[in-house]
């Protein structure tokens, strides 16, 4: 029957922190102002959080920054005491909130492994016994007596991770230590997670990397503002997480738009001879600005298929990226260009005015509009518009990451783009019979690919 008892039960846990408005840190301040109550703001980090983790389950704790997941982790790790509610932990729990806790840069690896293993709960004797296994895993045989301060960061991470996995515990609590080290070592870590998972240990992984959640977790809980938003399968949790992100970002952009209008006045004085009708856009994301600004980018944005400004755009539809340039002096054949980068800073798309653009007199405006098929995967994209004196010439104005757009979509993909496609899957048996297994997706894609197929079937 013991298998029915969860490994961890979190029952109505709340935790709040009092953040004093004015920190009283010295006795003198206390003595001088004995009756002053500085007051405090209460931060509710967790509100009535409940969930169970089954034995042997790989369980994700997911949430955005400030959602309370770190506080949850610290409560589970017994570092913070919960204000109300109870946490039951069955079995020995080891928490890995940071790799290499207690590492001392002035001591060699040999000593540090001992210290770190003791911190994580091994006896010093056991730590010494497993020393070789640790060094084997970390692949650091030649550096055992090297002081840690002479280690590269990659070596440090390897050493720390190697100690961590040597710790005996029934329940492991891991905080975002997945994405560490070089690729080969990462793979080794992932393999190790698989091993841990198969060995029947219960693992709690705190992360905001949905790929890790989908890859390892059996179930996950999504926290938002200290509340449990959802408990369920990794797919469900990732979808809800994406939703949360999108809705929040959309709100942030709306708020940002207001502040852009309010701060218009600041731009006025610095412009050489700007007309009163202009509005200088304030970059959403504080990108750098280059160029002598003899022509200025005064507006930029994304438009949907109907030509309306949007902060979020659905994937798969036609849309446009637009910017306006106001010329302060006569420029012949200026060159307009724009780049769109994704959140990982990959340049997804670039376009420029191909031909000579003619003469722009002082006071003229140039409108540059690029229509394109939106094949981008759901993510945040930034537009960096630029105008040059001539193609490849000096910048008149170049504003990095001036505007952004959120692309939303329902298609699950970890690729950079989502191209409309059709999947056709056929099984050809040895006896010569053919059988269509899947045939799904955009029908017109296939029609375009095989224009003759409808007339002469094979």
């Amino acid at each position: 029957m013991s298998t029915a008892v969860p490994a961890i039960v979190v029952d109505g846990v709340s935790k709040s922190f009092e953040l004093p408005r004015e920190q009283v840190h010295t006795l003198k301040e206390r003595a001088l102002h004995p009756f002053r109550n500085p007051g405090h703001d209460t931060l509710h980090a967790l509100r009535d959080v409940s969930f169970d983790v089954k034995q042997g389950e790989f369980f994700g704790i997911v949430g955005r920054n400030g959602s309370g997941k770190s506080t949850m982790l610290k409560c589970l790790a017994n570092i913070y005491a919960a204000d109300t509610g109870e946490i039951y932990v069955r079995g020995r729990l080891s928490a890995f909130i940071e790799l290499g806790v207690g590492f001392n840069p002035d001591l060699p690896a040999r000593d540090n492994v001992g210290i770190n293993a003791t911190m994580l709960g091994l006896s010093p004797k056991e730590g010494r016994r497993r020393f070789d296994a640790i060094i084997d895993f970390a692949e650091l045989h030649d550096f055992v007596d090297l002081k840690l301060k002479n280690y590269s960061s990659g070596m440090l991470v390897r050493l720390a991770f190697a100690v961590m996995i040597q710790v005996d515990a029934d329940i492991l609590l891991i905080d975002e230590v997945l994405a560490v080290g070089d690729l080969a070592f990462q793979q080794k870590c992932y393999d190790q997670f698989e091993v841990i998972r198969r060995s029947g240990k219960t693992v709690l992984l705190v992360t905001h990397a949905m790929s890790a959640v989908q890859r390892f977790c059996d179930r996950a809980v999504l926290l938002e503002h200290g509340n449990v938003t959802e408990i369920g399968t990794p797919l469900l949790i990732s979808n809800r997480y994406q939703e949360l992100n999108f809705s929040e970002e959309a709100r942030a952009i709306a708020a940002g738009g207001v502040s852009a209008i309010e701060s218009e006045g600041e731009g006025e004085g610095t412009r050489p001879n700007g007309g009163p009708k202009d509005t200088i856009v304030i970059a959403d994301f504080g990108g750098d600005r280059y160029g002598d600004q003899r022509a200025e980018i005064i507006d930029a944005g994304f438009e949907d298929a109907r030509g309306l400004r949007q902060e979020t755009l659905p994937a798969g539809k036609t849309c446009a990226a637009v910017f306006r340039v106001l010329f302060h002096e006569r420029i012949e054949d200026p060159h307009f260009e724009l780049r769109i980068v994704n959140s990982g800073d990959d340049i997804m798309f670039a376009a420029s005015s191909k031909s000579d653009t003619g003469v722009f007199e002082a006071g003229d405006e140039g409108h540059f509009r690029v229509y394109f098929e939106n094949v981008f995967a759901p993510d945040r994209y930034h537009m960096s518009p630029a105008v040059r004196r001539q193609p490849g010439g000096v910048w008149l104005d170049f504003r990095e990451r001036l505007r952004s757009v959120m692309i939303t979509g329902t298609e699950e993909t970890d690729a950079l783009v989502w191209v409309r496609h059709q999947v056709a899957m056929t099984r050809l048996r040895a006896d010569g019979t053919a059988e269509i297994i899947t045939h799904s997706g955009a029908a017109d894609v296939e029609a375009a690919a095989h224009p003759a197929s409808t007339e002469s079937p094979a």
């Binding site: 017994n78 570092i79 039951y88 210290i115």
Partner: protein, 295 residues
């Protein structure tokens, strides 16, 4: 527990009694004394190793420091100020005082900032909080052990002899360590809330250095002002040092009981010691769960 068998909800089809006690949050002592010891020792050994890391003479400094101070004070109080002349074993008694005071100031002064020095551990690991001040005390004890060897060597050179009363030495060290531990617990959590504890404690240490018969003997004070001598002995550190001088160095030195004016009066330094220890422990225990949050 009572409703578990009949009214099991679909979400919790298990006997909650099997869960055992809930997590209690971080504590001062933890539940596993073995782990407490391992942690304290690991921290102490690390500190010990690091102390003189990188210096040419390395550990020799730990012995040189009290000896150098001893040299200066010895010259001053025998050649310049006539305080030590004629006192048998003055040199060894001075050295003993310096070594013990060095231990006292290392154990308590080091405890002040120990929790914030180890902040990264406190905020990232679940372990008995008291292990940190304990490790400071252990490091200081290791140093004291080595320094006492030097004192004994000096004693032998100065013509002292091995006596049965030496057996008191470990007990006196334990007493002093308990006193230091009480202070350590108090000042370490105090410092987490009020940073002024550090300068305040530095001043107190300075005062204690002069208010304790370290470079003078209690007999000198007795000759001038008998009641002042008794009051000086109320300080537990002074009482321990005096007894140490009597038991280890020179039997002609008054015992702590004699110096304070009767065995009954020893209850005063003992009471102070116990009070500090209890208050220190209670304060530390009360504050331990919050240390990670305040730091």
């Amino acid at each position: 527990m009572s409703e578990t068998t009949d009214t099991v909800t679909p979400e919790q089809p298990f006997d909650r009694a099997l869960l055992g006690p809930p997590l209690a949050g971080p504590t001062a002592l933890g539940t596993d004394p073995v782990r407490f010891w391992h942690l304290s020792r690991a921290l102490a050994v690390t500190d010990f190793k690091l102390k003189f890391f990188g210096s040419v003479l390395g550990y020799a400094w730990q012995l040189m420091r009290p000896l150098l101070l001893f040299g200066v004070l010895y010259v001053v109080f025998t050649e310049v100020v006539d305080l030590g002349n004629g006192v048998p074993f003055y040199g060894v008694m001075l050295l003993m005082g310096i070594v013990l005071f060095g231990f006292f100031s290392e154990a308590t002064g080091g405890a002040v900032t120990c929790l914030s020095d180890r902040e990264s551990l406190v905020r990232r690991l679940d372990f008995p909080r008291l292990a940190i001040p304990t490790s400071v005390l252990l490091t200081a004890l290791m140093n004291l052990g080595l320094n006492l060897v030097v004192v004994i060597i000096f004693l032998m050179i100065s013509g002292g002899e091995v006596r049965w009363t030496w057996i008191e030495l470990p007990f006196l060290v334990v007493l002093l360590a308990l006193f230091c531990s009480g202070i350590g617990m108090l000042v370490s959590v105090g410092y987490v809330r009020y940073r002024d504890v550090k300068p305040i404690w530095e001043v107190i240490l300075q005062i204690l250095f002069y208010a304790t018969p370290i470079f003078y003997t209690i007999t000198v004070v007795e000759a001038q002002n008998a009641s002042l001598a008794k009051i000086l002995m109320y300080n537990p550190f002074a009482a321990v040092l005096q007894q140490m001088r009597h038991a280890v160095i020179d039997p002609s030195q008054p015992t702590a009981a004699a110096a304070i004016g009767g065995t009954v009066y020893l209850l005063i330094p003992a009471g102070i010691m116990l009070f500090v220890l209890l208050v220190g422990y209670r304060t530390f225990k009360k504050q331990a769960p919050q240390v990670a949050e305040i730091l």
